[in-house]
Symmetry: C2
Subunit: 276 residues, 2 copies
């Protein structure tokens, strides 16, 4: 049986992503922080970690890009999950009873329009979406609601007062699966890497040319500050190819000539999209 | 006399940036949110807004990139400010009296190492760095400290207990100045633009080639999700050139052929770095 660490309370979107990826028999282990998930995966070679890396509305989870750099883990898979947010409360509580709504600040931001339509309700930022549902159950609050997943409502026995309170329904989060072991995936379609370019004009363009000139499609580029080197950047790149291909081996050799640092973070198949 | 809107309470780093940029006679107007700053600048053509866009440790302030897109304002200048964080309390209070430390969550993150060295102290996330100093003054809290700027200590009459509690001293924030009017800067050295590429292989590479082939140096690239179009991106680019140059006019015409959307956000001189 595999053990998979995720960040958040039971009922979190990360738990749902882990369950979808690993199936009903995996043991899922809630952790307080993303850092704890990385540390679990690093110290348990037969276990895994799963983390959100990018949301289609809010963009990248930068902290997790930085953590990828600090840990020697391999990305072995990915999964896209549709994010649906519901407002929930203890059974019997009505919308008119609600005086405060709890959720993670990002989730609250996604529901701003709906929450503004509620009169005389204060909106309270909490550390976690599922955690706010848990708190309402544990403290028996009958004048409060949480904004969280349907899974959180089931986990803590809350009733959904209003479904899909998020403003943008094209809301997906991409999760990646981390392992201390480099597993041989059956079909590798994507490779993720990170590099730092030399501080010369046109350096990034030349680094990208390494792939473009070999007809290797770039799927995503993300820049992050190079800590301690103001206004220098690290680039995280996803390409549509496997490191086993000759053209990719050549491209990686070529990019080594142009960069001060390069590392392959993982190679894996395209992830499924789970729409619930 | 010019009026300049900034986000935060008096004593905020943004206020310091505004004062450095506009000098002692400008009227500085605190606003609650970045959105309020954009809206002030949009509706007051003779006024300005100033916002942080990028930090050398934490990266871009993504919300402000998104707001740039939603408002028709011009970037007319920039300024880099060294971020120094100090722990402060009411006069007479000693470090051993402190039971809780308040600041903005990002500032607390920057001082994690120091804060962990304090025993039996709880760390409380507050909406604003200067706001936490203000709250300690207004509530007369003698068992609490704030982490904020020297300016905040002066503004609210607090004493600095420990200087430079931030872990990384290479900590700078880049601010940009916004105006509804396109002002003619004396010497334009930088141009900021945003574009969306067509969904074809190599599209980003080709868009960057427009500049590289004309020897136009790229200073920064930032990708943001294209809201409502999952896994498509907008790119924000800073180049080292003026839109008045022939090569830039040609490059902008050329990039129009390759993109679904392109807009120049502003043209301005390189900003000074203020180290205090």
């Amino acid at each position: 049986m595999v053990t998979v660490a995720y960040q958040g309370e039971p009922g979190a979107f990360s738990e749902e992503a882990a369950r979808s990826f690993f199936g009903p028999r995996a043991k899922l282990l809630p952790k307080q922080s993303f850092k704890d998930v990385f540390e679990f995966a690093a110290s348990h070679p037969s276990g895994f970690g799963i983390i959100p890396i990018e949301n289609s509305v809010f963009g990248s989870v930068h902290q997790n890009y930085d953590l990828l750099l600090r840990h020697k883990l391999h990305i072995i898979g990915e999964l896209k999950l549709r994010i649906q947010l519901h407002m929930m409360a203890l059974p019997g509580v009505k919308t008119t009873n609600i005086r405060s709504v709890y959720s993670h600040s990002q989730a609250l931001g996604q529901c701003e329009e709906y929450l503004r339509s509620l009169k005389k309700v204060s909106v309270v930022a909490f550390y976690d979406t599922a955690g706010s549902a848990k708190m309402i159950r544990e403290e028996g609050k009958r004048d409060a609601a949480a904004v969280a997943s349907a899974r959180a409502a089931r986990t803590y026995g809350l009733s959904i007062l209003k479904r899909n309170v998020e403003s943008n329904h094209h809301n997906f989060t991409r999760f990646i699966v981390l392992s201390a072991r480099k597993t041989a995936a059956k079909s590798v379609e994507k490779t993720s890497l990170v590099f730092a370019v030399k501080d010369v004009p046109g350096a990034l363009f030349k680094a990208l040319a390494v792939f473009a000139l070999r007809e290797i499609n770039m799927l995503k580029i993300e820049s992050r500050p190079h800590v301690g080197k103001p206004w220098e950047y690290l680039f995280y790149l996803d390409i549509e190819a496997s490191p086993d291909e000759v053209r990719v081996r050549q491209a990686l050799k070529h990019i080594g000539e142009l960069t001060t640092f390069v590392r392959v973070l993982g190679a894996y198949p395209f992830g499924q999209t789970i729409k619930n």
